[in-house]
Symmetry: C2
Subunit: 313 residues, 2 copies
Amino acid sequence: MSAAPKILVVGSVALDSVRTPYGEAENALGGSASYFSFSASHFSHVGLVAVVGRDFPAGHRALFESRGVDLSGLETADGETFRWRGEYAAELGHAHTLETRLNVFSAFQPKLAEAHRDADFVFLANIDPELQLHVLQQVRRPKLVISDTMDYWIVRKPDRVLDVLREVHVAMLNEEEARALAGETQIVRAADRLLEQGARAVIIKKGEHGAYYQSHEERFIAPAYPVEALTDPTGAGDSFAGGFLGWLACSGRMDGDALRQALVCGAAMASLAIEGFSPVRLIETSQDEIERRVARLHRMVHFDLQPLFQDLG
Amino acid sequence: MSAAPKILVVGSVALDSVRTPYGEAENALGGSASYFSFSASHFSHVGLVAVVGRDFPAGHRALFESRGVDLSGLETADGETFRWRGEYAAELGHAHTLETRLNVFSAFQPKLAEAHRDADFVFLANIDPELQLHVLQQVRRPKLVISDTMDYWIVRKPDRVLDVLREVHVAMLNEEEARALAGETQIVRAADRLLEQGARAVIIKKGEHGAYYQSHEERFIAPAYPVEALTDPTGAGDSFAGGFLGWLACSGRMDGDALRQALVCGAAMASLAIEGFSPVRLIETSQDEIERRVARLHRMVHFDLQPLFQDLG
């Protein structure tokens, strides 16, 4: 595919082994760029920049192709694919990592092809902030760049994480990461603090409690879609980002209304991701199912605003 | 005041000593019925049924009267008023109780006056479920009864807590209580389970993450109002209940739209409660300020529902 993808993601493609109270998966397709790509692919054309090893199964590659994901930026290096092994306890809040083998990912140096440098929308998934900055130098004039990060980088390279946060349009973090980076326990204040430190906008992911967007102008709250069939929370945040950026690319709008809709698309995609191991539900879902979840979220949060006290005097 | 109050609350009036990272208060007016009354008083006429000791300050009584709360059901017994001493850590999630002296509250037996038995809306605040059932036998034909509870009763009298849950229109619990009572770690499943066990509807309070309403017909999600000046989370749940029941009493409606609006009024009142020690902010707030918070919550969650994929084919 030679046309420039509208959306570019730079992150990891991995083989995950995960155990949750609801089952387990061995060497299943995983990685931030995978979840993001499958999620965003329902909305727009996605190009993926990542690295895998010689052991990466052709079947996995075919899954990306089935969703129209541009794999021209998926490098194959000598060695093994990044492997992660983890488990979740009953609350499913946080993964307990049992083993991380970076393998070929440890030497990953994202080099964007010409066509990729013109992407309008860019997701800098959770990789070394130095690499995120390196990618930012290569993209030409993106309309919107979102970054993700993780506690590992906040502890080791807080200044670089803040450099990234200042360079992107929206910095995405989870609650603990926002607290750690801002040095504030209260989330609203943590968001204020990150804006003071130069962020243009932040999205704070709160898992089953939804997501919170704050810029200098606006605050939005998107609930999580209530999932009954929760199976494996891996990839929820990346799938959220895929729905968010996907809808902005698809709608061609970036006003407040579009941002709110994008948050809800993100919530819908995250809810699908966690209903199965690996991104299976993101691959098999349909536009109809996504529409239904967004409509259901609308019903759950919408209320008519009317004067409360008009008759009371 | 001889007219029957529209809303009746049965619960505690206490003297609280609270320390948070933002300050402290000694022997300040507290108790579930206090927070609820001040909150609901902005919407409708409230009658309070509780007990205090001979030491209860006349100034506190005057505060209730300043908000038009009917204190004819506030018994004064020989002995001291219920006292609670607690502190909150930086996260402000849960109070650490340092001391509880039930005093006159330990022999509390709510007896409703004739006029009170005709209340349309009843809040059974967190008291012994046996007493809650005793109150339910005394009210004649309430339109809506909401119950609250706490882990203390769930551990000691789970069957009685479930009896109450089956008798009321809406059972209100926080996340941990819902998990404990339902025996389910996932909140959505816990709500399902409580409905299976006979609840008509549940509201699960999630603190800074808002509240979740589920009945057999509907699910609503109300976010919390983002508070910058968080001072003392004591009474947030009772203040939420006051806004919720207050709006239903005020609007005279109980359809889905009214329930959603009521959840948001609850969120607005809870946000005011936690901005100060004791119910000071609930007492001094205005209809204008409440309207503004509800309108702001509307802006934060509202999004236009439109077909996502109409142009994609």
